[in-house]
Symmetry: C2
Subunit: 354 residues, 2 copies
DNA sequence: CTGAAAGCGCTTACAG
DNA sequence: CTGAAAGCGCTTACAG
């Protein structure tokens, strides 16, 4: 007669305890500390749990009681949407996720800005975080610090109490520039982001960049060039990516091209190569191009790109291991600089004139 | 005199309540329901919180009390480490993360297998999950279902109560095969994973694949070929990626090459093109190649690859929106098939003989 | 506009 | 090997 609304009680430790006739505690132990009860009792408890459709201790409740969630946050420069268009960032996320997984942690992607009232760095439960290529002033970074979470920064700026991991940008850039100098180039342009420069010859005096990464690379490029009294032409955009400003300035540079270009990334190098090609400037015969990163694309394009390789897997592993050390309250190395390596391919050659 | 160990009490709602002289509740309201108290009182509370270094309500405690975490899980076929080497999967993660972020949710990457005693699908606190290219039998999938979490599957198999989203593989594959037939090809090979086939001519009868995606594509390819009474040569590997088995079988195929190849992905197509090139088989003059996906690489390689485009951003959005609908307990479309589009570039042409 | 009560589902010592 | 007690830090109705 009539309908019957079946109120499905949620199954919890209590439900199972009552069913088996033990205390909640013992059920908890059956799941979380198997050595605390007899094999036989445990089997009975697990069977009852299974029968009742219990999926295991509720993770949220467990996180509160234990004071740990098993989740590590990753804040990327911009939104994940932007960061995931960059193969280097993707490779890094991949390496970190893999390393953390081996230790039983999962990675949650945190977007920087507030959306719909939530600020992930403030509102998501986690045990620690990795901050990738992000100024200490960034609001997400500040929120994490306020929570006193263990943090590791990657390609960031030094910041008290936060270990920083990154490649040795200066030395990588130095190798790239030295390579061009050794080939005999003297008219060299630097193409970079995070720097507002419109085809101006510059010495290392007044280079204002907002990015530590670019600051390091500029230092290396300039050092190698200054050793040979070369004053490079600077082509840059204030943005943190390749934008139309940079594209336009690259075009302007190609109106009166140098014999070689140092690009801040492989993608920027490809941009230069494509624009040169469309004007009939041949690479490397008329223009040598050196990139940075050793993006998977670098070896595939033609001519294959000379570049500075960084070991992105090593960087991800180092970040993960350092954070795990922090979580164990072990000593963590405050600053780690990973080596780079010049990879000479087909986009560089002696200048035509020499 | 002597040292003093300062026990730093953790700051909670209670600490602040005592400081300001109100109840914990009111402090909670100051953070979570601003309309529940006077502007003035709220300001005083927030000021006290700030002074005490309170970073906001503890997310873990909030998650337990509210019954929601703000986190959505994503389980990828294999480990994130593997999945992130595939541009298509990366694009999908990117689109999902972006869409979820707009709604205030963060994405946590779940590895499939148990590591260090933790099974993320079972042990991580989350509000729902997206399961990407994963058989319903997968253990992670089962764990999620046992928890009765809202789930959306993507490129999976239909499974009761779980909406599935994917492209129309059969129709995309049909377009690709039809394109070759229309160009006049009759000697056509299919190169695919998830199918154990070593250069055997086959009709659609007994094609055993473990992947729904490949099953759909096989159906489309075969339908177009059968319409013209063409029996293709099947080249496949049982693995779910491009492995050495597949490479070796591709080589064997090229010993007596067909005039055209249908590849299950752009990466497989590139593999075929590279191996053909190294033997002096010219693409497209002697061999036409069609890929699948429209990977970012497809337009960059030379010759540019003819392929079947899928809109990966649309797929990610659809997955996110469907899951969000489930969370709101709205009606969710059980099955969504996204359209594909043939993109003709330079890797296909009429066969030499015609 | 403010607060006392009950509860979210689990775990951590600790005593028996 | 088992359980009673206290607590993790918050929020949700509800009453005043």
């Amino acid at each position: 007669m009539g309908e019957e609304v079946v109120e499905v009680e949620r199954v919890t430790l209590k439900t199972i305890a009552e069913r088996v006739g033990v205390s909640r505690m013992t059920v908890s132990n059956a799941f979380s500390r198997p050595d605390q009860l007899s094999e036989d009792l445990r089997t009975r408890i697990l069977a009852a749990a299974d029968e009742l459709g219990y999926a295991g201790p509720d993770p949220a409740a467990r996180a509160l009681a234990r004071g740990r969630t098993g989740v590590i946050g990753m804040v990327l420069t911009n939104s994940p949407r932007d960061a995931f268009t960059d193969d280097v960032a993707v490779g890094f996320v991949r390496a970190v996720a893999g390393s953390l997984a081996d230790a039983g942690y999962s990675l949650v992607l945190l977007h920087g800005s507030e959306k719909n009232g939530v600020v992930p760095a403030r509102d998501i439960a986690m045990d620690g975080a990795i901050v990738y290529s992000c100024a200490p002033s960034a609001s997400a970074f500040a929120a994490l610090r306020e929570r006193r979470l263990p943090i590791v920064s990657v390609e960031g700026s030094p910041s008290p109490g936060v270990p920083d991991i990154g490649i040795d940008n200066a030395s990588g850039a130095y190798q790239a520039a030295k390579h061009l100098v050794d080939l005999g180039h003297r008219r060299i342009a630097i193409v970079t982001d995070a720097l507002d420069a419109d085809n101006t010859p510059s010495s290392s005096g007044s280079l204002a960049t907002t990015s530590t990464t670019i600051a390091g690379r500029l230092e290396g490029w300039m050092r190698a060039l200054e050793e040979s009294d070369i004053v490079p032409i600077l082509v840059g955009t204030p943005a943190l990516t390749i934008d139309d400003v940079l594209r336009e300035r690259i075009d302007r540079m190609l109106d009166d091209p140098p014999t070689a270009v140092l690009a801040f990334s492989d993608l920027a190098a490809l941009e230069v190569m494509e624009r040169a090609k469309s004007r009939g400037i041949r690479v490397p015969e008329q223009l040598s191009v050196v990139g940075f990163d050793d993006n998977p694309l670098a070896a595939r394009v033609s001519p294959a790109l000379t570049t500075v390789r960084q070991d992105i897997d090593a960087k991800g592993d180092a970040a993960a291991q350092t954070l795990l050390a922090l979580l164990r309250e072990d000593e963590a190395t405050p600053v780690q600089r990973l080596p780079t390596e010049l990879v000479v391919r087909d986009s560089t050659a002696r200048p035509a004139s020499s």
